[in-house]
């Protein structure tokens, strides 16, 4: 596998920056000017945030799916799994309790 050149890599950062910029603008615009209603807005916010997370991981932190880089990816996925369990569980439990108190 040939090593990427400086220009290749610098371009990567700029592409990432472009994506991130768009994915930041959309949610801010939606909240400031949009009128999608809370549910749709929240959904769109979530999608943009997730997309931007992936973009930054890909272009800034250089995490991708190629085979040799699996260790980080596994670590991140595993941590995300636990995070979802913990944070999601917390919101579920406390939300449920809040409704019944």
């Amino acid at each position: 596998m040939s090593e990427p050149t400086y220009r290749d890599e610098a371009r990567g950062y700029l592409i990432g920056f472009g994506f991130a910029l768009v994915l930041t603008l959309i949610p801010f615009a939606l909240v400031i000017w949009g009128d999608l209603g809370p549910a749709m807005t929240l959904g769109a916010l979530g999608v943009c945030a997730l997309a931007q997370l992936v973009v930054q991981l890909r272009y800034f932190l250089h995490i991708d799916l190629s085979r040799q880089k699996r260790e980080d990816l596994q670590l991140i996925l595993f941590s995300s799994l636990l995070l979802i369990m913990m944070a999601g569980g917390t919101i579920w439990i406390i939300g449920n309790l809040g409704m019944r108190m």
């Binding site: 890599e9 949610p27 807005t41 250089h62 980080d72 670590l75 991140i76 913990m86």
Partner: protein, 209 residues
């Protein structure tokens, strides 16, 4: 000894010799630390979400009374740009452009980091004026537990950048120095990841629900 393939992106490349091999261990370790930190932030986010309701607000000011989206947008942009400028520093190091360009890019990043902190403090002082202080309600407690925690990380990042610039002057680009800058890069990008969560959940999310 066999050397398995190294860490992606945030790596140096075999032409860096010792530093490249050391990076294997230390970057992995740093990733693990970041994931542990991620849990801390995740739970702060979860707490914030559970507090974002009338009980949590306890009759105090709400998000609409205290958040200033213009400022938040500015903070977001500054942090995002600083991520790219740090990327340039990493590239300068990876492609051995010498400590000059690295220092330059780090300086710009530091300036942006400090700019971010200034904007954030400005924002905080406006919030205090609006009565959105932690002693007012559970909701504001959770805000003040989360966002300044990120700010504190950025502050540590700025301190770290400064120290690395000093150490680069003293020690040149010794292997340890390189792996430290590598980890600093991870840290800096990680802070931007957390910020995505903050502007989405804390500011935009609370304002749109």
């Amino acid at each position: 000894m066999k050397h398995p393939i190294l860490h992606p992106g945030m790596n140096l490349g075999p032409h860096h010799g010792q530093a490249h091999y050391d990076a294997e261990r230390v970057t992995f370790g740093f990733w693990v630390f970041l994931m542990s930190d991620l849990i801390i932030f995740g739970l702060m986010f979860a707490t914030y979400v559970t507090m974002a309701n009338p009980t949590g607000l306890a009759g105090g000011p709400g998000p609409k009374d205290a958040y200033d989206l213009t400022n938040v947008y500015a903070q977001t942009m500054v942090l995002l740009v600083s991520s790219v400028t740090f990327g340039m520093a990493s590239l300068a190091m990876r492609f051995e452009r010498g400590s000059g360009p690295i220092t330059l890019w780090l300086c710009i990043t530091l300036a942006l980091g400090l700019g971010f902190l200034t904007l954030e403090l400005l924002d905080f002082s406006n919030m205090v004026e609006a009565g959105a202080v932690p002693s007012r309600s559970g909701f504001w407690s959770s805000f003040w537990g989360l966002v300044p925690l990120h700010g504190l990380h950025v502050f540590v990042g700025c301190l770290w950048i400064s120290i690395m610039m000093i150490q680069m002057r003293i020690f040149g680009l010794a292997p340890v120095i390189k792996t430290r800058i590598l980890r600093l890069g991870l840290f800096w990008h990680f802070l931007d990841l957390i910020w995505i969560g903050i502007f989405t959940i804390v500011y935009l999310g609370a304002l749109s629900s």
